[in-house]
């Protein structure tokens, strides 16, 4: 299967090791990736979607036209990009007048949008298309003996009728199943579905409360789980859940919160035998405690 990789901005600009992990792992599992040349901002919810519907959907249309030209669906890791592209497409598909207007705007650029290409999240492709059995059969190393917790990206859960792929958005399973396929034990906890709080304007407008909100989640993780690591599948969750641990530590004057955070494709890449320096080197919470404990898998 071929998919068009929509990278967004944070991943290639700040965490290109996540991009490397995605590009390394997906072809091993039978998913070929093509690049989205000349893509633009998804657009981020705080940009055109907060300013002008027409400019928002024209920008969505620009991006969607790229996947349509390649003749395949997009695959996206960033939660915001995924949700913005899905929502943009949804708006265009349910509003013929807007679809016409957007195509009028796109026409001089040599582009056209019809909605024939869909938008898929990388965790959905791994969960539904590849499946945990196939992943497990390719492992060279495993996370056996390690405990993890999973952070479902809100943008892949809500609203389920636009972005969802789980059987129930209130009881998602995908990331847990995928992480267990790597050999780890996944611990549940009371605040598993609490948003990391890192996207949008919460942290910018009232940082003190946003940090407290995040701390309530991390306290639950420490009290209720044996987490050696956190598995996410969204670039905002990844960066925020690392950075906020350091912020809280600074605030309390104590190194209490230091759970390594990985994008799922990074854990997958490590277990498929890729070089940690290439697929997992950029972090603000040290990851050696996990990387050093990977267990070699011997073929049966």
């Amino acid at each position: 299967m071929q998919l068009c990789l929509f990278l967004g901005c944070n991943t290639p600009a700040i965490r290109p090791d996540v991009e490397r992990a995605i590009r390394a792992t997906m072809p091993v599992l039978g998913i070929d990736l093509v690049d989205a040349d000349n893509y633009v901002c998804c657009p981020a919810f705080g940009s055109f979607p907060s300013a002008d519907e027409e400019a928002w959907l024209a920008t969505s249309g620009w991006n969607l036209s790229i996947a349509e030209e390649k003749g395949c669906d997009f695959v996206v890791q960033c939660g915001s990009c995924y949700s913005s592209l899905r929502m943009g497409r949804e708006h265009l598909m349910h509003n013929a007048a807007m679809m016409n207007r957007v195509n009028e705007l796109l026409d001089p650029t040599g582009r056209k949008v019809t909605g024939k290409s869909g938008v898929r999240h990388v965790s959905e492709v791994l969960y539904r298309e590849v499946g945990p059995e196939k992943i497990a059969s390719h492992l060279k190393k495993s996370l056996e003996g390690l405990h993890g917790i999973v952070q479902y990206p809100c943008h892949t859960l809500f609203p389920s009728e636009v972005v969802g792929f789980e059987d129930s958005a209130r009881a998602p399973k995908g990331l847990r199943v995928l992480t267990e396929a790597l050999g780890a034990s996944v611990d549940g906890y009371s605040r598993e579905l609490q948003c990391c709080g890192g996207a949008g304007g919460f942290m910018k407008s009232t940082p003190e409360q946003a940090i407290e909100f995040a701390q309530s989640k991390f306290d639950a993780i420490l009290e209720e789980t044996q987490a050696d690591f956190i598995a996410v599948s969204c670039i905002t969750c990844l960066m925020f859940m690392e950075n906020v641990q350091n912020t809280i530590n600074k605030k309390i004057g104590e190194e209490r919160y230091k759970i390594p955070v990985f994008d799922y494709n990074q854990l997958l890449a490590l277990c498929l035998g890729f070089d940690p320096k290439e697929v997992s080197s950029i972090c603000n919470v040290p990851r050696d405690s996990v990387i050093d404990r990977l267990v070699p898998v011997h073929p049966a």
């Binding site: 901005c9 002008d52 024209a58 949700s83 705007l105 809100c154 949008g200």
Partner: protein, 167 residues
């Protein structure tokens, strides 16, 4: 406050044309799951819905809280009346941007200038050290970037605030 005096009964038509908003019965489900409801001041989505329905333009124009939304869309999922509160938040931001140029997000200027909200593709050495191919960005494709800008210049928010988008 005299609601008759202060209100614009057609405000909802300007902001959020779907009649669904009138189904809101103020139950607060949108608030209870909202990260930004923990802020100070809190984002209280149902209060914003009230301001729109009651037509309180001045109060709504001054509200900063719609911009604290994290876009998690949990309210959209949980709303029992399918009001689509997250869509409403975006619609309120659009309305504020259209009626007060200081609300226009700086991010759209960044996107206009280089295609993205931040510098994508400039970390060439780092990318190479990770074994990544060079990224073909819009920023470096002047011809495509120009077409993108020309397209955006035909939209309302860019054409009406064109002074923001100069070099």
């Amino acid at each position: 406050m005299d609601l008759q005096e202060a209100s614009n009964k057609d405000l909802w038509k300007d902001i959020y044309k779907t009649g669904d908003l009138h189904f809101c019965f103020n139950c607060s489900t949108c608030v209870s799951g909202c990260p930004a409801s923990h802020g100070d001041p809190p984002l209280l989505v149902r209060n914003l819905a009230r301001l729109v329905i009651l037509g309180l333009e001045e109060e709504l124009l001054q509200e900063d809280t719609p911009w604290a939304c994290v876009s998690c869309s949990k309210c959209e999922e949980m709303c029992p009346m399918d009001v689509k509160p997250f869509e409403m938040i975006l619609a309120i931001r659009q309305w504020q941007s259209a009626n007060d140029e200081t609300r226009v997000p700086q991010a759209i200027v960044e996107i206009y200038k280089r295609g993205y909200t931040q510098a994508v593709g400039v970390n060439k050495e780092l990318r190479e050290s990770l074994g990544l191919p060079p990224l073909k960005t819009l920023t470096e494709n002047i011809e495509q970037l120009e077409l993108f800008r020309e397209m955006l210049m035909k939209t309302k928010v860019v054409s009406e605030n064109d002074y923001m988008f100069g070099e």
